[in-house]
């Protein structure tokens, strides 16, 4: 996962409509902190950089570069687990 990757959810992997979990085959992955808000932005169209730019506008005072590092790391972990492609 890089800032220019365009992540999308893998078929059969999805956010629960209200709970902080990702539903995956045979199980769930617990989400913590802002992970849910970030995953909600993953649409298979925008790059990670664009998603972070959009989120930064919502979180006043956030350092966009720092945020980008964190989001790349989070999405990278989810990609390794098969939740995301791209």
């Amino acid at each position: 996962m890089t800032p220019d990757s365009i992540p999308q959810m893998t078929p059969g992997y999805r956010l629960h409509p209200i709970q902080d979990v990702v539903l995956i085959p045979e199980g769930v992955l617990e989400l913590s902190g802002p992970s849910r808000d970030i995953l909600l932005e993953v649409d298979g169209k925008r790059t990670v950089r664009e998603i972070v730019h959009h989120l930064a506008a919502k979180y006043e005072g956030a350092d966009e570069n720092e945020m980008l590092d964190d989001v790349v790391a989070l999405l990278g972990r989810l990609a390794e687990r098969g939740v995301l492609q791209g």
Binding site: G12, V21, L23, P25, E26, E80, R81, G82
Partner: protein, 357 residues
Amino acid sequence: MSSTTRPQSLICEVTHRCPLHCLYCSNPIEMQKMETELPAEVWRRVFQEAAALGILHLHLTGGEPLARKDLAELIQAGHDAGLYVNMVTSGVGLTEERLAGLVQAGLEHLQLSFQDADEARANYIAGTRAHAWKLGLVPLIKRQRLAFTVNLVVHRQNLDRLEEMIALAESLEPNRIEIAHVQYYGWALKNRNLLMPTEEQVRYALPVVEAAKTRLRGKIHLDAVLPDYYANFPKACVGGWGRQMILIDPAGRALPCHSAGILPGFSFDNVREKSLSWIWDQSPAFERFRGDAWMSETCRSCDRKERDFGGCRCQAFLLTGNMEAIDPVCTYSPQHGLMEELRKPVGDELLPIYRNS
């Protein structure tokens, strides 16, 4: 004691009919007949009740779920209830058109098992010529928006070829590979002597699985279920009795696990008559082995009870004749010596025992 945990999974054996006759079948020896199967409208209500109980996952299994003509309707009902819909299938008879309909209805994950890397040996274990059909089905599955698991059931007759089996699974590019040692319940118990792996095989398999996990990391997720009979501590069977899951058999009986029907003195409530929440919260069957009051002093005073919840009641019953006994897999069981007896290699003269159906 009433339950403090909420169930996460609902396993529905929607039929016991199946075109395969696998030697390691986990279904009970006496299977439910088609005439007794729950109709779709009862399943629909049960799925709604499951979602209200907080259940997230619906597992449609059998037998072979495809044997139900109304399978798409069942999937739709699970999806409408808000459940994540998994299906375990042999794929036999499945066409691209029917599969597309199932995905359209809300199927999210499909699991297909392979019995061996070698076709003739795979068909011998399945009791049916299914291997080539399954391989042919994979490209059709891959064209759908669907998560895909390849399941490999391993035992003495195929464990020597585990590397080839993993290579086969890998070539099919699933999201997930599951490697499961046969569990000796139901029909599988009849073939235990034929299927029990040797100690050498188990020693060979462990590093093979670990190496595959490392090699496939980030590409294919690999889950492995260890061979029970070689363990020193029991598994937390189904995550603990009445703690995580409910199984409904084709006729509607609600069970705490696949095998509980063999336990003596039980009466399992039926979803035709009782709601799922009543069964979970109030039924004597689900209450029976919750907590630690039923445990022997050895288990009750053991720290591991929070991890294994006293092990497997069916295994204790099948191996010792006493369902309250310490699971003999446990090294603290006075009957742990049994496991060594059962692991001993047996001659090659044994014949497979297939179901007649």
